[in-house]
Amino acid sequence: MGLADRILNNDIRAAARLMRDIDDGLESAKAELKQLYPHTGKAYIIGITGPPGAGKSTLVDQITAEYRGQGKRVGVVAIDPTSPFTGGAILGDRIRMNRHAEDEGVFIRSLATRGALGGISHSTGDVVNVMDAMGMDVVIIETVGVGQDEIDIVRMAHTTIVIMVPGLGDDIQAIKAGILEIGDIFVVNKSDRDGADRTARELSVMLEMGHSRDSGWMPKVLMTEGNRGEGIKALVTECLAHKEYLLSSGALNKFIMEKNAVILMNMLKDGLFNEAFRIVSKNGKFDKMVQEITDHSSDPYTIVENTVKGLIVTNRN
């Protein structure tokens, strides 16, 4: 039996192995993903982003517990950065989620960014698909949370939760507009700390100012104390409200179409490039091109133009 067959038979090891094959870019993973694809599209996907130490993993743990209480199966994809110097990584999000380790209704996978910059790894979408095919009702993605350009998560998740903490104080003004635009729900975690109310108020004001009237969804600001599970029920209820909004407004369909357009575009880009590069690299052609540019006997613009034309002509015949 292949990995996909085994996964559809609830084989955990097969699922874990396919995720690795995906991450390692093995060609064989594609056939398995093809087979799993008809079984995807059912999971509700939540993205969680916010600065390091804000309590993302803690909240993932709590949200997981809440959904388990509802009898739902939960997949977690937790992403941490790859060191650009060594290529290694320490993936430490599981520390906060250990109580779910043995629960067969929970599957947690840590991924390293492996050079990707948008807060998630290139493999994240496909790993989520595997969890979806495994029958996970909810998949939670925890992003790296370093930069403010973690926009990839918005395209991946039905609902994006942005976690903040008090103590940002006046710096809240410094929060880039980007972060306000990506959240469907905002959470001020560590509500036990001084200034939590103020942070929440300021955030609310900023969201109201930035809110466009055509948008049917107004993001709320919620408070949580992740450590003690305070505010988690309300957060999960708000996720449900957002999911229902997506369904009833027709926004869900638009979201899925846009997501698929981007996925298709990226895969086309990769596929076409790989194929073109394979052809162009034959018989040292590519090296010859580099040489021509280097000694100025030609230029990169002409070479690329001619190469692309050539590839298209070849394929027409």
Binding site: T82, N98, A101
Partner: protein
């Protein structure tokens, strides 16, 4: 296209208090280019094995100072076997008397690093002994 990246779970079974040693090893393994899944303190053997399976690691590195190595380490090995996952190797480090090492190895622990082992030795051992799957 790309080649396999080695994945290693580092954790600490049992009840003893701090994880300094485990963290040092985790960092050294990261600096050697591996992906380290760090699961922290107070892990039961069952939790360690479940995590190792979900993360599809090549090996498990356990740090243990509590003196409970003779029960906890063989237990991890047994649970791995029960889950048909004994292709995942176990190595350990910590305060482990020389006399206990043969017993641990017989119980399926692939290598035991005693205090004073450098992180370079550990990395070298991992490179040489944990075959890429």
């Amino acid at each position: 296209m790309s080649s396999r990246k080695l994945r290693i779970l580092v954790g600490k079974p049992g009840l003893d208090g701090h994880d300094r040693g485990a963290k040092v090893v985790a960092r050294a393994l990261r600096d050697a280019g591996f992906e380290v899944i760090y699961t922290g303190l107070h892990q039961t053997p069952e939790q360690i094995v479940a995590a190792a399976i979900q993360e599809d690691v090549d090996c498990i590195g356990l740090s243990i100072l509590s003196g409970a190595h003779n029960t906890l380490l063989p237990r991890v090995s047994t649970v791995l076997k029960e889950k048909n996952a004994d292709d995942i190797a176990i190595f350990c480090g910590g305060v482990i008397p020389e006399d206990d090492i043969p017993g641990l190895k017989a119980a399926g622990i692939k290598e035991v690093f005693t205090p004073g082992t450098s992180t370079e030795d550990i990395i070298k051992w991992v490179k040489e002994n944990i075959a890429e799957k």
